[in-house]
Symmetry: C2
Subunit: 322 residues, 2 copies
Amino acid sequence: MTEAPGRSGAIGSMGELLVEFICTEKDGHNRQPSTYAGPYASGAPGIFIDQAARVGARTIFSGAVGDDAFGHVLVDRFTSVGVSEALVLVVAGVPTGSAFVSYNSDGSRDFVFNIAHSAAAHLPVGEAAVAAFASFGLDAFHISGSTLGDPVMAAAALGICLALRERGVAISFDPNVRKELLVDPSYMETVRALLGIATFVLPSAEDATVLFPGEPFEMFSRRFHDAGARYVVLKRGDAGCIGSLAGGPVEEFEAHKVGVVDPTGAGDCFCATFVALIAQGFAFREALRFANAAGALAVGKTGPMEGNSSLAEIEAFLGERR
Amino acid sequence: MTEAPGRSGAIGSMGELLVEFICTEKDGHNRQPSTYAGPYASGAPGIFIDQAARVGARTIFSGAVGDDAFGHVLVDRFTSVGVSEALVLVVAGVPTGSAFVSYNSDGSRDFVFNIAHSAAAHLPVGEAAVAAFASFGLDAFHISGSTLGDPVMAAAALGICLALRERGVAISFDPNVRKELLVDPSYMETVRALLGIATFVLPSAEDATVLFPGEPFEMFSRRFHDAGARYVVLKRGDAGCIGSLAGGPVEEFEAHKVGVVDPTGAGDCFCATFVALIAQGFAFREALRFANAAGALAVGKTGPMEGNSSLAEIEAFLGERR
């Protein structure tokens, strides 16, 4: 597929809804009493849809929370930014998903996740879910690889994407690869299936290293364009980004020089800004430039989606930098 | 049963192993980003067995943790105080249980629990578990009512207690009633069954209000002594404690005047000190006096079992107060 997505700017996503707690001290590895900031609304697909809403897209999300205070954190967040929660389930008696992150001095991170045994894993399946998404008039539908770690969740995500793709919805995929799962053939099969149907292919530099080893951007982007992708963008963190439009130019932006307070969510924020602006009719280069700025803004605040920003905030940031 | 427990001082317990996070700000109701202290080793039966070990008992615990960093917090704690973890399971792929507590200005507390869908619910059952406990040479075995909220966990706890009781182990029971469960007939049946076989009946004032409404201590303690309990102790928080020995005296202690930093766990600490000292041959009045002091020490530190104390620490505290 090489047609551009429609222009109404309606974006959907699905996946794990989590609250996140961030250790405020380094090197504790989540193994000793310390201080944590949280509960922050989180989960890569949740961060994505929050940002898509902030930059002006109509948005809908499907996922699930428990009937506890942490579930309210997520629902409150969606309500406050205008994400439709028509497809957000509240699962009685099952805890809301959670993630605890502890940073180390060497830049690595230790996590404790509760996803598979939490409400987060209760993803929609079947024709009813597809119909509900389709009736929203979606231009694009986004999946983060973070959702694919559990086989049942991966199957649900792929099933919805295949059905929506058939109905003409552009699929957006951020591989967001978990290296420890690369040895799992079923995980890699799902990653490859989504890469194969995606209109938006949005890997990070880490993703590219493990998924396309030895291939420079020009090589793997051409492969994806040949297979039908319209947009291939490589997020390179503090080295900026490079993107290509099928049959069009390659554009490259340097990273903005900003202080990094909390990098979590910056990639999701980048993807959401890019996809939501394309869906709203922004030119390729402009969408990429705004996404690059939104990613820089995202790392400046503690909390996975606390650094998400509106179009006006991104414009102000870019204006200051001119 | 009115015989005193043996004198080797071996204590067992079982139940939910949790890590606890404590909100450092009031009135957030776990519904908004704030600051939390944790992960602290917790769970009422875990607090109990930690304190029993600290005051010199040989101790064994049965419960389960996940194969994550939070599981290490609990296992590390048991290792450091010498609780045998021979019966602590590590359940792969299931998260360690957790509790989040947020205090309110009016003294109430809001909780988010993950117990039933966590490793904490994987309690031992069957003859093998009974045999393993029995081979430890137990004098007393303790159950906290906190373990009885889930029907499967309640059945496991009652089953082990009935079997151990038959083998001559004294049962200790802290009703630790959850008021919202009083309407559940199966929950109340388990509470009554444990009250019926307990050698140590150790309610709090709140427990007594809901379980023995209108009955003064003298009345319900006589009922339990008539039914076979050897020790009945009422924990009255900042009003001290009162206890009675079957066929013996009633003893009463005022609470020590201390600053309350974190009341969680004080009741469990009190119970553990009392049961462990009785099992080690302390006289009734002395055990009660030490338990009363240990409870006072427990409220002075943040963290559910961080205020637990050794016999030497309790003696020093009592010495300072003489």
